[in-house]
Protein backbone atom coordinates (compact mmCIF):
# COMPACT_ATOMS: atom_id res chain seq x y z
CA UNK A 1 0.00 0.00 0.00
CA UNK A 2 2.84 2.37 0.91
CA UNK A 3 4.34 2.07 -2.53
CA UNK A 4 1.04 2.68 -4.21
CA UNK A 5 0.37 5.73 -2.11
CA UNK A 6 3.51 7.38 -3.37
CA UNK A 7 2.10 7.37 -6.88
CA UNK A 8 1.51 10.82 -8.19
CA UNK A 9 -2.17 11.58 -8.05
CA UNK A 10 -1.91 14.06 -10.86
CA UNK A 11 0.17 16.61 -12.61
CA UNK A 12 -0.10 20.35 -12.58
CA UNK A 13 1.88 22.06 -15.36
CA UNK A 14 4.04 19.02 -15.68
CA UNK A 15 4.80 18.80 -11.99
CA UNK A 16 3.68 15.60 -10.29
CA UNK A 17 1.35 16.08 -7.39
CA UNK A 18 1.88 13.46 -4.73
CA UNK A 19 -0.79 14.62 -2.33
CA UNK A 20 -4.35 13.86 -3.00
CA UNK A 21 -6.23 16.82 -4.38
CA UNK A 22 -7.06 18.91 -1.34
CA UNK A 23 -10.59 19.61 -2.38
CA UNK A 24 -11.41 15.96 -2.65
CA UNK A 25 -12.07 14.12 0.54
CA UNK A 26 -10.40 10.78 0.18
CA UNK A 27 -10.32 8.58 3.27
CA UNK A 28 -6.98 6.67 3.31
CA UNK A 29 -8.68 3.28 3.22
CA UNK A 30 -11.27 4.13 0.69
CA UNK A 31 -9.76 5.52 -2.45
CA UNK A 32 -12.83 4.20 -4.20
CA UNK A 33 -14.31 7.50 -3.21
CA UNK A 34 -12.45 8.99 -6.16
CA UNK A 35 -14.64 7.01 -8.44
CA UNK A 36 -17.70 7.92 -6.46
CA UNK A 37 -16.76 11.57 -6.42
CA UNK A 38 -16.68 11.77 -10.17
CA UNK A 39 -19.85 10.83 -11.91
CA UNK A 40 -17.86 9.75 -14.97
CA UNK A 41 -14.92 10.56 -17.24
CA UNK A 42 -16.47 13.83 -18.38
CA UNK A 43 -16.73 14.93 -14.78
CA UNK A 44 -13.09 14.04 -14.13
CA UNK A 45 -12.00 15.85 -17.26
CA UNK A 46 -13.97 18.94 -16.36
CA UNK A 47 -12.44 18.83 -12.89
CA UNK A 48 -8.91 18.71 -14.30
CA UNK A 49 -9.57 21.69 -16.53
CA UNK A 50 -11.22 23.73 -13.79
CA UNK A 51 -8.43 22.82 -11.40
CA UNK A 52 -6.12 24.91 -13.53
CA UNK A 53 -8.64 27.70 -13.69
CA UNK A 54 -8.83 27.32 -17.43
CA UNK A 55 -11.68 27.67 -19.83
CA UNK A 56 -12.85 24.60 -21.70
CA UNK A 57 -11.98 26.27 -25.00
CA UNK A 58 -8.39 26.80 -23.90
CA UNK A 59 -8.04 23.23 -22.76
CA UNK A 60 -4.34 22.27 -22.89
CA UNK A 61 -4.87 18.82 -24.33
CA UNK A 62 -1.38 17.53 -23.67
CA UNK A 63 -1.38 18.36 -19.99
CA UNK A 64 -4.93 17.25 -19.50
CA UNK A 65 -4.32 13.97 -21.27
CA UNK A 66 -1.30 13.24 -19.11
CA UNK A 67 -3.14 14.06 -15.91
CA UNK A 68 -6.17 12.07 -16.95
CA UNK A 69 -4.10 9.03 -17.77
CA UNK A 70 -2.31 9.34 -14.41
CA UNK A 71 -5.60 9.25 -12.60
CA UNK A 72 -6.79 6.29 -14.59
CA UNK A 73 -3.50 4.46 -14.06
CA UNK A 74 -3.69 5.09 -10.34
CA UNK A 75 -7.20 3.73 -10.19
CA UNK A 76 -6.03 0.66 -12.05
CA UNK A 77 -3.00 0.24 -9.77
CA UNK A 78 -5.33 0.34 -6.80
CA UNK A 79 -7.28 -2.42 -8.47
CA UNK A 80 -10.40 -0.31 -8.26
CA UNK A 81 -13.07 -1.62 -10.45
CA UNK A 82 -12.64 0.88 -13.18
CA UNK A 83 -15.52 1.64 -15.47
CA UNK A 84 -14.59 0.96 -19.07
CA UNK A 85 -15.93 4.40 -19.88
CA UNK A 86 -12.80 5.95 -18.31
CA UNK A 87 -10.61 3.96 -20.67
CA UNK A 88 -12.67 5.02 -23.65
CA UNK A 89 -12.06 8.64 -22.75
CA UNK A 90 -8.34 7.99 -22.32
CA UNK A 91 -8.32 6.63 -25.86
CA UNK A 92 -10.14 9.66 -27.19
CA UNK A 93 -7.65 11.97 -25.49
CA UNK A 94 -4.72 10.00 -26.84
CA UNK A 95 -6.13 10.21 -30.33
CA UNK A 96 -6.60 13.96 -30.12
CA UNK A 97 -3.10 14.32 -28.76
CA UNK A 98 -1.57 12.38 -31.63
CA UNK A 99 -3.51 14.37 -34.20
CA UNK A 100 -2.33 17.60 -32.63
CA UNK A 101 1.26 16.44 -32.82
CA UNK A 102 0.99 15.63 -36.51
CA UNK A 103 2.18 18.43 -38.75
CA UNK A 104 -0.51 19.64 -41.13
CA UNK A 105 -0.72 21.97 -44.13
CA UNK A 106 -1.00 25.63 -43.06
CA UNK A 107 -4.25 26.38 -45.04
CA UNK A 108 -6.12 23.86 -43.05
CA UNK A 109 -5.42 25.70 -39.80
CA UNK A 110 -9.07 26.24 -39.26
CA UNK A 111 -11.02 26.28 -36.03
CA UNK A 112 -13.41 23.74 -37.48
CA UNK A 113 -10.50 21.40 -37.93
CA UNK A 114 -9.25 21.65 -34.38
CA UNK A 115 -9.20 18.02 -33.29
CA UNK A 116 -10.28 19.19 -29.87
CA UNK A 117 -13.47 20.75 -31.24
CA UNK A 118 -15.70 17.72 -30.75
CA UNK A 119 -14.46 17.12 -27.22
CA UNK A 120 -14.84 20.81 -26.37
CA UNK A 121 -18.42 20.71 -27.64
CA UNK A 122 -19.16 17.65 -25.53
CA UNK A 123 -17.55 19.18 -22.46
CA UNK A 124 -19.60 22.35 -22.87
CA UNK A 125 -22.81 20.39 -23.17
CA UNK A 126 -21.82 18.28 -20.18
CA UNK A 127 -21.04 21.40 -18.17
CA UNK A 128 -24.46 22.83 -19.06
CA UNK A 129 -26.09 19.62 -17.86
CA UNK A 130 -24.13 19.74 -14.61
CA UNK A 131 -25.52 23.18 -14.14
CA UNK A 132 -29.00 21.88 -14.89
CA UNK A 133 -28.53 19.14 -12.32
CA UNK A 134 -27.64 21.81 -9.78
CA UNK A 135 -30.72 23.83 -10.66
CA UNK A 136 -32.89 20.76 -10.16
CA UNK A 137 -31.17 19.82 -6.92
CA UNK A 138 -31.61 23.32 -5.51
CA UNK A 139 -35.36 23.31 -6.23
CA UNK A 140 -37.46 22.81 -3.09
CA UNK A 141 -38.28 19.14 -3.15
CA UNK A 142 -41.31 17.37 -1.71
CA UNK A 143 -40.16 15.12 1.12
CA UNK A 144 -36.88 16.96 1.56
CA UNK A 145 -37.70 20.65 1.85
CA UNK A 146 -41.45 20.72 1.71
CA UNK A 147 -44.05 18.43 3.18
CA UNK A 148 -47.59 18.07 1.96
CA UNK A 149 -50.46 18.63 4.33
CA UNK A 150 -52.26 15.52 5.50
CA UNK A 151 -55.49 16.65 7.03
CA UNK A 152 -57.96 14.18 8.47
CA UNK A 153 -61.40 14.18 6.92
CA UNK A 154 -64.62 12.33 7.48
CA UNK A 155 -65.63 13.01 3.88
CA UNK A 156 -65.01 9.44 2.75
CA UNK A 157 -67.66 8.18 5.15
CA UNK A 158 -70.20 10.22 3.25
CA UNK A 159 -69.32 8.70 -0.09
CA UNK A 160 -72.20 6.70 -1.46
CA UNK A 161 -72.03 4.64 -4.59
CA UNK A 162 -74.87 5.71 -6.79
CA UNK A 163 -77.00 2.84 -8.12
CA UNK A 164 -76.42 1.91 -11.74
CA UNK A 165 -78.42 3.83 -14.26
CA UNK A 166 -80.67 2.06 -16.70
CA UNK A 167 -82.13 3.73 -19.75
CA UNK A 168 -85.29 2.84 -21.61
CA UNK A 169 -83.04 1.74 -24.46
CA UNK A 170 -81.25 -0.71 -22.16
CA UNK A 171 -84.59 -2.13 -21.17
CA UNK A 172 -86.08 -2.47 -24.64
CA UNK A 173 -82.83 -3.95 -25.85
CA UNK A 174 -82.94 -6.53 -23.05
CA UNK A 175 -86.52 -7.36 -23.90
CA UNK A 176 -85.85 -7.78 -27.59
CA UNK A 177 -82.98 -10.07 -26.66
CA UNK A 178 -85.38 -12.19 -24.64
CA UNK A 179 -87.76 -12.23 -27.59
CA UNK A 180 -84.99 -13.42 -29.85
CA UNK A 181 -84.23 -16.26 -27.49
CA UNK A 182 -87.89 -17.14 -27.38
CA UNK A 183 -88.04 -17.19 -31.17
CA UNK A 184 -85.09 -19.51 -31.05
CA UNK A 185 -86.87 -21.93 -28.72
CA UNK A 186 -89.97 -21.82 -30.87
CA UNK A 187 -92.23 -23.61 -28.39
CA UNK A 188 -92.75 -20.42 -26.41
CA UNK A 189 -95.10 -17.84 -27.69
CA UNK A 190 -95.29 -14.36 -26.49
CA UNK A 191 -98.68 -12.92 -27.23
CA UNK A 192 -99.23 -9.56 -28.64
CA UNK A 193 -100.70 -7.35 -26.04
CA UNK A 194 -100.65 -3.73 -25.33
CA UNK A 195 -98.39 -2.84 -22.42
CA UNK A 196 -101.18 -0.91 -20.78
CA UNK A 197 -103.15 -4.16 -20.67
CA UNK A 198 -100.35 -5.88 -18.77
CA UNK A 199 -100.15 -2.94 -16.40
CA UNK A 200 -103.90 -3.10 -15.82
CA UNK A 201 -103.62 -6.84 -15.14
CA UNK A 202 -101.12 -6.07 -12.36
CA UNK A 203 -103.45 -3.48 -10.93
CA UNK A 204 -106.43 -5.85 -10.92
CA UNK A 205 -104.41 -8.59 -9.23
CA UNK A 206 -103.13 -6.14 -6.64
CA UNK A 207 -106.62 -4.89 -5.94
CA UNK A 208 -107.90 -8.44 -5.53
CA UNK A 209 -105.06 -9.30 -3.11
CA UNK A 210 -106.42 -6.66 -0.78
CA UNK A 211 -110.13 -7.28 -1.28
CA UNK A 212 -111.93 -10.56 -1.50
CA UNK A 213 -113.76 -9.44 -4.59
CA UNK A 214 -114.61 -6.39 -6.55
CA UNK A 215 -117.58 -5.59 -8.70
CA UNK A 216 -116.99 -5.77 -12.41
CA UNK A 217 -118.13 -2.18 -12.79
CA UNK A 218 -115.55 -0.96 -10.27
CA UNK A 219 -112.80 -1.78 -12.76
CA UNK A 220 -114.08 0.77 -15.21
CA UNK A 221 -113.47 4.40 -14.59
CA UNK A 222 -115.41 7.04 -16.40
CA UNK A 223 -112.39 9.36 -16.46
CA UNK A 224 -110.40 6.90 -18.53
CA UNK A 225 -112.91 7.02 -21.32
CA UNK A 226 -113.45 4.44 -24.01
CA UNK A 227 -109.78 3.51 -24.38
CA UNK A 228 -109.51 2.87 -20.64
CA UNK A 229 -112.57 0.66 -20.70
CA UNK A 230 -111.09 -1.39 -23.52
CA UNK A 231 -107.83 -1.82 -21.60
CA UNK A 232 -109.68 -2.96 -18.46
CA UNK A 233 -111.81 -5.36 -20.45
CA UNK A 234 -108.81 -6.86 -22.23
CA UNK A 235 -106.98 -7.20 -18.91
CA UNK A 236 -109.92 -9.05 -17.37
CA UNK A 237 -110.17 -11.35 -20.38
CA UNK A 238 -106.47 -12.08 -20.26
CA UNK A 239 -106.58 -12.79 -16.53
CA UNK A 240 -109.49 -15.16 -17.03
CA UNK A 241 -107.63 -16.85 -19.86
CA UNK A 242 -104.56 -17.28 -17.66
CA UNK A 243 -106.90 -18.67 -14.94
CA UNK A 244 -105.81 -16.04 -12.50
CA UNK A 245 -109.25 -14.65 -11.71
CA UNK A 246 -112.81 -15.92 -11.64
CA UNK A 247 -115.99 -14.18 -12.53
CA UNK A 248 -119.20 -14.94 -10.67
CA UNK A 249 -122.75 -13.70 -10.66
CA UNK A 250 -124.95 -14.21 -7.61
CA UNK A 251 -128.22 -13.59 -9.44
CA UNK A 252 -129.02 -13.09 -13.09
CA UNK A 253 -128.58 -9.50 -14.20
CA UNK A 254 -126.83 -8.57 -10.96
CA UNK A 255 -123.31 -7.12 -11.02
CA UNK A 256 -120.53 -9.54 -11.91
CA UNK A 257 -118.05 -10.18 -9.13
CA UNK A 258 -114.39 -10.67 -9.79
CA UNK A 259 -112.21 -12.58 -7.40
CA UNK A 260 -108.89 -14.37 -7.44
CA UNK A 261 -109.23 -17.91 -8.59
CA UNK A 262 -109.06 -20.72 -6.00
CA UNK A 263 -109.21 -18.39 -3.07
CA UNK A 264 -112.98 -18.31 -3.24
CA UNK A 265 -113.05 -22.07 -3.55
CA UNK A 266 -110.74 -22.46 -0.59
CA UNK A 267 -112.97 -20.21 1.44
CA UNK A 268 -116.11 -22.07 0.44
CA UNK A 269 -114.45 -25.28 1.52
CA UNK A 270 -113.60 -23.95 4.93
CA UNK A 271 -116.96 -22.26 5.29
Amino acid sequence: MAEQQSLPLGFVRGEPVIEKPEDLYIPPDALEVILDTFSGPMDLLLYLIRKQKLDIVDMPILTITRQYVEYVEMMKELKLELAADYLVMAAILAEIKSRLLLPKPPQEEDEEDDPRAELVRRLKEYEAIREGAEHIDSQPQVGRDILLSEVATDAREHVTTPPPEVTIEDLTLAFSRVLQQVELNAHHHIQREQLSTRQRMSQVIELLSEKKYVAFSQLFKRTEGRAGAVVSFLAILELVKESMIELSQVEPMSDIRISLRNRQQDESVTA
Binding site: E150, A152, E157, F175, L179, E183, L184, Q203, E206, M244
Partner: protein, 189 residues
Protein backbone atom coordinates in the same frame (compact mmCIF):
# COMPACT_ATOMS: atom_id res chain seq x y z
CA UNK B 1 -36.85 31.70 16.51
CA UNK B 2 -39.39 34.25 17.56
CA UNK B 3 -42.92 33.56 18.76
CA UNK B 4 -44.43 33.83 15.25
CA UNK B 5 -41.86 31.47 13.75
CA UNK B 6 -42.41 28.94 16.53
CA UNK B 7 -46.13 29.06 15.90
CA UNK B 8 -45.53 28.53 12.16
CA UNK B 9 -43.27 25.59 12.91
CA UNK B 10 -45.84 23.89 15.16
CA UNK B 11 -48.58 24.62 12.64
CA UNK B 12 -46.53 23.12 9.79
CA UNK B 13 -45.66 20.05 11.90
CA UNK B 14 -49.33 19.37 12.65
CA UNK B 15 -50.19 19.65 8.96
CA UNK B 16 -47.31 17.49 7.76
CA UNK B 17 -47.51 14.73 10.35
CA UNK B 18 -49.90 11.93 9.40
CA UNK B 19 -50.76 11.16 13.04
CA UNK B 20 -51.92 13.57 15.74
CA UNK B 21 -49.15 15.13 17.83
CA UNK B 22 -49.44 15.97 21.52
CA UNK B 23 -48.11 19.17 23.05
CA UNK B 24 -45.40 17.06 24.68
CA UNK B 25 -44.36 15.46 21.39
CA UNK B 26 -44.21 18.83 19.68
CA UNK B 27 -42.14 20.21 22.51
CA UNK B 28 -39.77 17.27 22.54
CA UNK B 29 -39.38 16.41 18.87
CA UNK B 30 -39.56 19.80 17.29
CA UNK B 31 -37.87 22.24 19.63
CA UNK B 32 -34.29 22.34 20.72
CA UNK B 33 -33.47 22.40 24.39
CA UNK B 34 -34.62 25.56 26.11
CA UNK B 35 -36.10 27.05 22.97
CA UNK B 36 -39.58 27.23 24.41
CA UNK B 37 -41.41 25.86 27.42
CA UNK B 38 -44.17 23.26 27.22
CA UNK B 39 -46.56 25.91 28.54
CA UNK B 40 -45.61 28.12 25.65
CA UNK B 41 -46.29 25.29 23.18
CA UNK B 42 -49.70 24.77 24.76
CA UNK B 43 -50.38 28.49 24.50
CA UNK B 44 -49.47 28.48 20.81
CA UNK B 45 -51.77 25.50 20.21
CA UNK B 46 -54.65 27.47 21.78
CA UNK B 47 -53.82 30.41 19.53
CA UNK B 48 -53.86 28.16 16.49
CA UNK B 49 -57.26 26.78 17.47
CA UNK B 50 -58.60 30.34 17.56
CA UNK B 51 -56.91 31.21 14.24
CA UNK B 52 -58.77 28.39 12.49
CA UNK B 53 -62.19 29.03 14.01
CA UNK B 54 -63.59 30.52 10.81
CA UNK B 55 -61.80 28.30 8.35
CA UNK B 56 -62.68 25.14 6.37
CA UNK B 57 -60.49 23.08 8.69
CA UNK B 58 -60.19 23.10 12.46
CA UNK B 59 -57.55 22.14 15.00
CA UNK B 60 -59.03 19.58 17.37
CA UNK B 61 -57.65 17.63 20.28
CA UNK B 62 -58.21 13.89 20.03
CA UNK B 63 -56.99 11.16 22.36
CA UNK B 64 -53.45 10.99 20.99
CA UNK B 65 -52.94 14.68 20.40
CA UNK B 66 -53.81 17.59 18.16
CA UNK B 67 -54.73 17.28 14.54
CA UNK B 68 -56.21 19.37 11.79
CA UNK B 69 -59.40 18.02 10.28
CA UNK B 70 -62.02 19.23 7.88
CA UNK B 71 -65.08 20.81 9.46
CA UNK B 72 -67.73 18.17 10.14
CA UNK B 73 -70.48 20.06 8.34
CA UNK B 74 -68.45 20.01 5.11
CA UNK B 75 -68.06 16.22 5.02
CA UNK B 76 -71.14 15.64 2.93
CA UNK B 77 -70.07 18.16 0.29
CA UNK B 78 -66.45 17.00 0.29
CA UNK B 79 -67.56 13.44 -0.38
CA UNK B 80 -68.08 14.42 -4.01
CA UNK B 81 -64.27 14.46 -4.38
CA UNK B 82 -64.28 10.70 -3.93
CA UNK B 83 -67.57 9.95 -5.63
CA UNK B 84 -67.40 6.80 -7.67
CA UNK B 85 -68.95 6.25 -11.03
CA UNK B 86 -72.09 4.12 -10.93
CA UNK B 87 -71.60 0.54 -11.97
CA UNK B 88 -73.57 -1.34 -14.57
CA UNK B 89 -76.27 -3.91 -14.13
CA UNK B 90 -75.87 -7.38 -15.59
CA UNK B 91 -77.68 -8.55 -18.70
CA UNK B 92 -79.55 -11.06 -16.54
CA UNK B 93 -80.93 -8.29 -14.34
CA UNK B 94 -81.96 -6.15 -17.30
CA UNK B 95 -83.72 -9.07 -18.96
CA UNK B 96 -85.53 -9.96 -15.75
CA UNK B 97 -86.62 -6.36 -15.30
CA UNK B 98 -87.73 -6.17 -18.93
CA UNK B 99 -89.84 -9.30 -18.54
CA UNK B 100 -91.47 -8.02 -15.37
CA UNK B 101 -92.20 -4.69 -17.03
CA UNK B 102 -93.45 -6.02 -20.35
CA UNK B 103 -95.13 -9.20 -19.14
CA UNK B 104 -96.49 -8.27 -15.73
CA UNK B 105 -97.92 -9.73 -13.63
CA UNK B 106 -95.46 -12.54 -13.93
CA UNK B 107 -94.09 -15.22 -11.63
CA UNK B 108 -90.45 -16.06 -11.17
CA UNK B 109 -91.10 -19.45 -12.71
CA UNK B 110 -92.47 -17.84 -15.83
CA UNK B 111 -89.44 -15.59 -16.13
CA UNK B 112 -87.21 -18.62 -15.78
CA UNK B 113 -89.17 -20.53 -18.36
CA UNK B 114 -88.87 -17.74 -20.91
CA UNK B 115 -85.22 -16.96 -20.23
CA UNK B 116 -84.29 -20.62 -19.97
CA UNK B 117 -82.17 -20.02 -16.86
CA UNK B 118 -82.99 -19.61 -13.20
CA UNK B 119 -83.37 -16.12 -11.79
CA UNK B 120 -81.00 -15.41 -8.94
CA UNK B 121 -82.52 -14.14 -5.71
CA UNK B 122 -80.01 -11.31 -5.79
CA UNK B 123 -81.54 -9.92 -8.94
CA UNK B 124 -85.03 -9.91 -7.43
CA UNK B 125 -83.65 -8.37 -4.24
CA UNK B 126 -81.81 -5.63 -6.13
CA UNK B 127 -84.89 -4.78 -8.17
CA UNK B 128 -87.03 -4.67 -5.04
CA UNK B 129 -84.48 -2.50 -3.21
CA UNK B 130 -84.61 -0.01 -6.03
CA UNK B 131 -88.40 -0.09 -5.69
CA UNK B 132 -88.78 -0.90 -9.35
CA UNK B 133 -90.78 -4.11 -8.83
CA UNK B 134 -93.26 -5.31 -6.24
CA UNK B 135 -95.31 -8.36 -5.46
CA UNK B 136 -98.90 -7.70 -6.43
CA UNK B 137 -100.35 -11.04 -5.47
CA UNK B 138 -100.04 -14.78 -5.91
CA UNK B 139 -100.79 -16.94 -8.85
CA UNK B 140 -103.36 -19.49 -7.81
CA UNK B 141 -101.45 -22.51 -8.95
CA UNK B 142 -99.69 -25.09 -6.80
CA UNK B 143 -97.14 -23.30 -4.63
CA UNK B 144 -98.99 -19.99 -5.05
CA UNK B 145 -95.93 -18.21 -6.53
CA UNK B 146 -95.65 -14.46 -6.15
CA UNK B 147 -96.68 -12.27 -9.04
CA UNK B 148 -94.29 -9.43 -9.81
CA UNK B 149 -95.22 -6.13 -11.39
CA UNK B 150 -93.52 -2.80 -11.99
CA UNK B 151 -94.04 0.09 -9.63
CA UNK B 152 -94.80 3.77 -9.78
CA UNK B 153 -91.17 4.47 -8.82
CA UNK B 154 -90.12 2.56 -11.89
CA UNK B 155 -92.24 4.88 -14.03
CA UNK B 156 -90.84 7.91 -12.18
CA UNK B 157 -87.23 6.78 -12.51
CA UNK B 158 -87.66 6.17 -16.22
CA UNK B 159 -89.50 9.41 -16.66
CA UNK B 160 -92.67 7.72 -17.86
CA UNK B 161 -96.19 8.65 -16.93
CA UNK B 162 -97.59 5.37 -18.16
CA UNK B 163 -96.18 2.02 -19.26
CA UNK B 164 -97.74 2.50 -22.67
CA UNK B 165 -95.11 5.15 -23.30
CA UNK B 166 -92.49 2.42 -23.47
CA UNK B 167 -91.53 1.49 -27.02
CA UNK B 168 -93.75 -1.31 -28.20
CA UNK B 169 -91.65 -4.27 -29.18
CA UNK B 170 -94.32 -6.90 -28.63
CA UNK B 171 -94.86 -7.57 -32.25
CA UNK B 172 -92.09 -9.30 -34.02
CA UNK B 173 -93.08 -8.52 -37.57
CA UNK B 174 -91.40 -9.86 -40.66
CA UNK B 175 -88.56 -7.34 -40.53
CA UNK B 176 -87.85 -7.87 -36.88
CA UNK B 177 -87.81 -11.59 -37.32
CA UNK B 178 -85.25 -11.28 -40.01
CA UNK B 179 -83.14 -9.10 -37.74
CA UNK B 180 -83.58 -11.52 -34.91
CA UNK B 181 -82.54 -14.37 -37.15
CA UNK B 182 -79.48 -12.51 -38.35
CA UNK B 183 -78.56 -11.74 -34.79
CA UNK B 184 -78.97 -15.37 -33.80
CA UNK B 185 -76.94 -16.54 -36.75
CA UNK B 186 -74.21 -14.15 -35.83
CA UNK B 187 -74.32 -15.31 -32.28
CA UNK B 188 -74.05 -18.93 -33.34
CA UNK B 189 -71.04 -18.41 -35.50
Amino acid sequence: MNQLQLKQLIEAALFAHPQPLSAEQLHQLLLSEGEASLTMVKGLLKELQTDYQERGIELVKVASGYRFQTRAELGQRLASLWQEKPQKYSQALLETLALIVYRQPITRGEIEQIRGVSVSSNIIKTLQERNWIKVVGHKEVPGRPQLYASTKEFLDDFNLSDLSELPDIDTLDEDDERTAETAINEREQ
